[in-house]
């Protein structure tokens, strides 16, 4: 099977390790991954900040860049939901091929729960708002995590509460955003986990940045990177 990876603009520049991890997991499972190099950004930031006219060309470009692929895999719940739900509403020329967030693709298309990963650490999973409320990933991420060798999954208190990132909310309402971030970090620390794992690096950038500033004993890591980890690499 041949799919196209939409790495997302944030991952491309700031978190390439997540894109690399997604490619490694998919290739390990025998999927032929392509990376259409014209791809840039889905336009969610523009749209959610009140600029649909600036988001529209990006949605149309996205459909052009990915035309002809059987499926698109995205290592981001938020971008995945935006492309799937909003792109078709922005423009008739913006209907993309089927879009799957990484865990959806692994479980719903490949029907694989055990991806052969090894990650000997204590992990808490944070269900980011768009991955849980818009994409409705449900227990897909934790089903995958619970099959990772050596991994101990611990419960995150207040897991369903937003971390306070919210795109431009993080800078338009910095005080509320920081207060929410601090509470999320406190919950992550209270869980006893070494790593807080999620399906969205934008949220993790906010949580991780808050944790680093506070010198809190918790590291943040994208789910794809946990699923890519193996004994050979460890």
């Amino acid at each position: 099977m041949r799919i196209a990876l939409f790495v997302t603009c944030v991952n491309d520049v700031a978190f390439p390790g997540t894109g690399i991890a997604a490619v490694r997991v998919l290739e390990r499972l025998g999927v032929e991954v392509d990376f259409p190099e014209a791809q840039t950004c889905c336009g969610q930031m523009q749209y959610n900040t009140g600029y649909p006219a600036e988001a529209r060309p990006l949605a149309e470009k996205f459909a052009r860049d990915f035309r002809g692929y059987e499926a698109i895999v995205v290592p981001s719940g938020s971008c995945g939901a935006f492309i799937r739900d909003i792109h078709p509403r922005l423009s008739a020329a913006a209907e993309p091929p089927p879009v799957y967030e990484l865990t959806e693709f692994l479980l719903d298309v490949l029907k694989t729960e055990d991806v052969g990963a090894y990650f000997p650490h204590r992990v808490a999973y944070h269900p980011t708002c768009h991955s849980s409320r818009l994409l409705k990933l449900g227990d897909r991420p934790t089903r995958l995590l619970s099959r990772v060798e050596g991994l101990e999954l611990v419960e995150l208190p207040g897991a369903e509460e937003c971390c306070g990132f919210g795109g431009t909310f993080s800078v338009k309402n910095p005080d509320v955003s920081a207060a929410m971030g601090a509470d999320k970090v406190a919950h992550a620390v209270a869980s006893g986990a070494e790593f807080l794992v999620a399906a969205d690096n934008s949220c993790l950038m906010h949580i991780g940045g808050t944790a680093r500033r506070a010198a809190a004993p918790i590291k943040t890591l994208h789910l794809a990177e946990v699923l890519a980890a193996t004994k050979e690499k460890a």
Binding site: V7, N11, D12, V13, A14, F15, P16, G17, G19, I20, V23, F35, E37, A38, T40, C41, G43, M45, Q46, Y47, N48, T49, G50, Y51, P52, E54, A55, L58, K61, C129, H130, R133, L134, E160, E161, C162, G164, G166, G167, F169, S170, V171, K172, N173, P174, D175, V176, S177, A178, A179, M180, G181, A182, M205, H206, G208, G209, T210, R212, R213
Partner: protein, 473 residues
Amino acid sequence: MKTDVGMPSFPAAARVATKDTQLRANLTRATHTIRDKRAKAVAELEDWAELREAGKQIKDHTLRHLDRYLIQLEKAVTAAGGHVHWAGDAAEANRIVADLVKATGETEVVKVKSMATQEIGLNEALAAEGITAYETDLAELIVQLGDDRPSHILVPAIHRNRTEIREIFRTKMAAWGRPAPENLTDTPADLAEAARLHLREKFLRAKVAVSGANFMIADTGTLVVLESEGNGRMCLTLPETLISVVGIEKIIPTWQDLEVFLQLLPRSSTAERMNPYTSMWTGASDGDGPSEFHLVLLDNGRTDTLADEVGRQALRCIRCSACLNVCPVYERAGGHAYGSAYPGPIGAILSPQLRGTASEIDASLPYASTLCGACYEVCPVAIDIPEVLVHLRERVVENEPGHKAERAAMKAATYAMTHPAAYRAAEAVAIKTRKLQPKKKLPIGPAKAWTDSRDLPELPKQTFRQWWKETHR
């Protein structure tokens, strides 16, 4: 009572509130308690999803034919001996109510808790005409005595703890009527008893009452109020004259439709299967409750809201406040930051539509959300609040000044993102200068807003795109 005129922007008000650790602790405890109870009350009903869909459809149907149902309601109320008045805005509604009270020769009224009269600032308008309005809902009484503003739709004094309430009763009750008992403690039973004694003389003396309504049934002209304390029942039955100020969107076609909402509202609001008091009245009748009944139908921006295809869903709201209780932003910022009788997520989409987006507070409300979607999930009439917030952001950036730099940045981002060469160049610059980029405490703008509380991530040596070229081409 204080009003919301001239409120600062949401972020400015929230900055103060987030530093108030007592307030945050009060709000977290209160909202989480009611949030968990609501979840249990809703989970009891297997057909909740169907009820929610029915509630949404009944409201949408009614709003689509609002003209017809309003005329039907007016006819039914009039036929039952009531009088119907039409108020285009707050000033007109206040004028009508003041004149009606004056015509009775009275100078005081008792009030049932009502969002519509908070919205129009009726108490202040009546005070200016020499008429005293007494709030009789316990929490509204606390707010009124404390010269305060409500901060929650259902629990207006949610920001007060019982020590503060005792102090308010002890120092302020005497100026409004019967003083608080000597040696008042801060136990809930004692505080409730003090309020009972204080309010009882008001109920027995009052000749005029002012209420809102949760629902108006077009078919029969019946008004419906749901409440918990019985103060509403007192106000609705004891006085000679009853004046109800109700938003035009509160209409439903028939009694059968009411069945849906009598299930949706209590479970969403107080997490009860059924609320303690449900009062219903049709017009006026001699010897049984008020002999004079006036219905003031309030527009005050609702027709304009109805004209907006995306925004109109806000008019489905039944004021349950479930969205406030699950909102992480409300929990940290508190209700006062929303600068309106309607705080929380519903306020963030209702106030800018009812009042327009010209003021600082109204222009900032659509951004008072992370778009996490918790509000939409619990809304009993399925108002897609995040969708309306994003829609209103578009309206703000188009109509209000102060977004020039942001628009330029968005346009530049889209240009770069649609021109691969420009995108690659920007990426290359970002990566090459990564060692020069500070991670902490930047001085101005969005970078300051981010780095005040958070480190920036250090950019990697190589983008994904570069890695792909090296490994897959």
